[in-house]
């Protein structure tokens, strides 16, 4: 038998000294990280230019596993942290990588305002429909009737349709895939790298330990089958029509791809118009190094 000296092509992007990771068997977050790494390989972006910012939660732990400048911030505040990072050093490619609860509940205000401002951030939102790190509580994304630890008789709240929300708020690129769609997801992440402005990719991902189990939806593999059978690719679908239900169709695809000036372009134009030659570009003086 020959033992081949092969390494996984995504390994150089990971902090292998931190493995094994904390994610459960069947969890989709690792799959999304794999897609993210493959998008980095494909896009040939200088890794030194990338900073990845996470909030708190299972997906929030992504920052700790990628071999990049990476920030594990506070709950809900990955986007404003990333905003400061991007504004202080516009050359950085800033990725926000976090979960649905972190980004749309506690961080929901920042999500809509960053989209409104069109801050040049690439947001990857892993949506497992639940608060997983804390034991499976209801999230703003939990579909109606689902059983969670804090809705033991089923949720009654309407859920957020995240693509619709961020499109309305101003995002220039909005896509949704599931963890079944690994090629498409990697391609979308690559496309988002090419966009200037607020890009949002939602990845529907299983939480077999808490969401699927409590709702008798099977294990990780059953969820893959569900994603495969019930997903429908509809590029350009009106985001108002892509809301999720517990066992229904999942509309995936690239919903929004449009151009409008990002925050820093607007800021620059405004300052040049108002101040003319007395405007000093921030990048000329910002570094406070000795």
């Amino acid at each position: 038998m020959t033992i081949l000296d092969v390494t996984n092509p995504v390994e150089p992007f990971l902090r292998t000294d931190r493995m094994p990771h904390i994610w459960c068997p069947g969890c989709g977050i690792g799959t999304t990280v794999n897609c993210f790494a493959r998008a980095l390989i494909e896009s040939k972006i200088d890794l030194q230019s990338i900073a990845l910012v996470s909030g708190i939660g299972c997906t929030g732990r992504v920052a700790g596993y990628v071999k990049l400048d990476s920030f594990h911030t506070t709950h809900g505040r990955a986007i404003p942290f990333a905003t400061g990072l991007k504004l202080a050093n516009p050359k950085l490619n800033v990725i926000v990588y976090s979960g649905d609860g972190d980004l749309s509940a506690i961080g929901g205000n920042h999500l809509i305002h960053a989209a409104r401002r069109n801050i040049d951030l690439k947001v990857i939102c892993v949506n497992n429909l639940i608060y997983a790190m804390t034991g499976g509580q209801t999230a703003p994304t939990t579909p109606g009737h689902a059983i969670t630890s804090t809705s033991p008789y089923g949720t009654c709240e309407p859920a957020f349709n995240l693509p619709h929300l961020v499109e309305a708020a101003g995002a220039v690129y909005v896509a949704r895939w599931t963890t079944f769609h690994v090629k498409q997801l990697a391609r979308s992440i690559g496309e988002a790298f090419q966009k200037k402005g607020f890009s949002f990719i939602e990845v529907i991902s299983p939480c077999p330990t808490l969401y699927q189990r409590r709702n008798k939806l099977g294990d990780g593999l059953d969820t893959m089958k569900y994603y495969k059978e019930k997903s429908k690719v509809k590029h350009g679908a009106p985001t108002s029509e892509v809301g999720l239900t517990m066992t229904g169709e999942i509309i995936v695809g690239k919903f929004v791809d449009r151009d409008r000036p990002d925050y820093q372009s607007l800021l620059h134009a405004q300052m040049v118009e108002s101040l003319g030659e007395s405007y000093v570009e921030p990048s000329e003086t910002v570094c406070s190094c000795s």
Binding site: S49, G64, D69, S70, T73, R77, A88, K91, P282
Partner: protein
């Protein structure tokens, strides 16, 4: 190193404390601020928003204080010197991020122009009731530095000092103004840039393979890298080891949290700034800070006119609390009198440090105005008996 002259408005000015604070931040090298409007602090960032585009920097008005207090930290890790400005209700919202800055050792400045509380309280009127919150408001064990100016001139001078401490110790510094100091207008002298000492970032020069993001030097303060420089470092609010990696064991927790405390404790003599007018064996020493120190000054003069032996100790550094000096004075004085615009905050520290060697008298005031000198005098007279 000397201040970047582009940020220094050298000359003699007539400024209120809020505007002077802004000029201090610019002189210190702050080129980024994130804020959310709140009375009586907003003038600081209004001026910054007007000034900084001509100096080379950015102001962004965020959607709330939760955002402002973390946006500035993102900017710091991007290479900027950064700060935010707020007042009571906003300061309450910022507490989690003060803890994050302490834990991740993000050098930055939080300006709190104090107004009456609790809750919405007295938006346009003064208090000094956030002093304990400044020290203890975020959860967990940590140390911060807090400075308290009593004039527009000090709003300028000490804002520079606040940034310098934040960079030297990689710690969030609380700049504890109050509504009166923020809104009073006085002469402010801004020296030439080459006379302003500015502490640069502890920016690492190590090779990527030699750099340990939370490895410490002899003084317990790690060197910092910025995003985009190739270090591929990790920053987390979780308990972390020298690599910056989460490591949630009691041993790592103990080592980290003690270091965060000790880097400040061990330098307390250097951080302690006091204004003192104590002779030999006063009967009474009046301990005050911020705007109250100026009212106390009048009360002290009135007491001396009556022949009382009264000394003055003004806390410029309020945190870490200068307990050593209080302990020394307790040995030679009968009593401390502590007027403050709250119902008794720093007076507890004075009493603790005096440890029964001298009596401690509070002069509480719920805020909304400053004390009347006569009210302080009355307690001085009582204390000197």
């Amino acid at each position: 190193m000397k201040a970047d002259p582009r940020g220094v408005l050298t000359g003699t000015h007539f400024l209120d404390g809020d505007h002077a604070c802004c000029e201090g931040a610019l002189a210190a090298g702050a080129r980024f601020a994130a804020g959310y409007p709140i009375t009586p602090s907003t003038e600081v960032v209004e001026r910054f928003a007007s000034r900084v585009p001509k100096v080379g920097g950015t102001f962004i008005q965020m959607e709330d204080e939760l955002a402002a207090s973390i946006t500035l930290q993102g900017a710091v890790w991007g290479g900027a010197k950064a700060f935010t400005v707020t007042s009571g209700p906003g300061f309450s919202l910022m507490m989690e991020h003060i803890g994050y800055a302490a834990m991740t050792e993000t050098p930055c400045v939080f300006v709190d122009v104090q107004r009456g509380g609790p809750s919405t309280g007295l938006p346009t009127l003064p208090a000094q009731a956030d002093m304990m919150q400044a020290r203890w408001g975020s959860h967990g064990d940590y140390e911060i530095i807090a400075l308290c100016p009593n004039s527009p001139q000090e709003c300028f001078d000490l804002t520079i000092q606040a940034f310098n401490f934040s960079e030297e110790f990689r710690v969030p510094v609380m700049f504890m103004m109050d509504e009166v100091v923020g809104h009073m207008t006085e002469k402010v002298i801004i020296p030439p840039a080459d006379q302003i000492e500015v502490v640069p970032r502890r920016h690492t020069r190590k090779a990527v393979e030699d750099y340990l993001p939370y490895g410490t030097n002899g003084d317990g303060v790690p060197e910092m890298a910025h995003a985009g420089e190739g270090y591929k470092f990790h920053v987390t609010g979780l308990t972390h080891d020298e690599h910056g990696y989460p490591n949630m064991t009691p041993a790592t927790q103990d080592k980290l949290v003690r270091r965060l405390q000790n880097k400040i404790h061990d330098a307390i003599d250097r951080i302690t700034l006091l204004e003192e007018e104590c002779f030999d064996s006063e009967d009474v020493v009046v301990v005050s800070y911020g705007i109250t120190s100026r009212v106390a000054q009048r009360a002290i003069e009135m007491a001396r006119e009556r022949g009382l032996k009264v000394g003055k100790l003004r806390l410029i550094t309020c945190w870490p609390f200068p307990e050593k000096r209080i302990r020394e004075l307790a040995a030679t004085t009968k009593a401390f009198v502590v007027p403050e615009l709250n119902l008794g905050q720093m007076v507890r520290e004075v009493e603790r440090a005096a440890n029964g060697k001298a009596r401690t008298f509070a002069v509480p005031h719920a805020g909304g105005s400053v004390h009347r000198p006569e009210d302080i005098l009355k307690v001085i007279v009582e204390a000197s008996r």
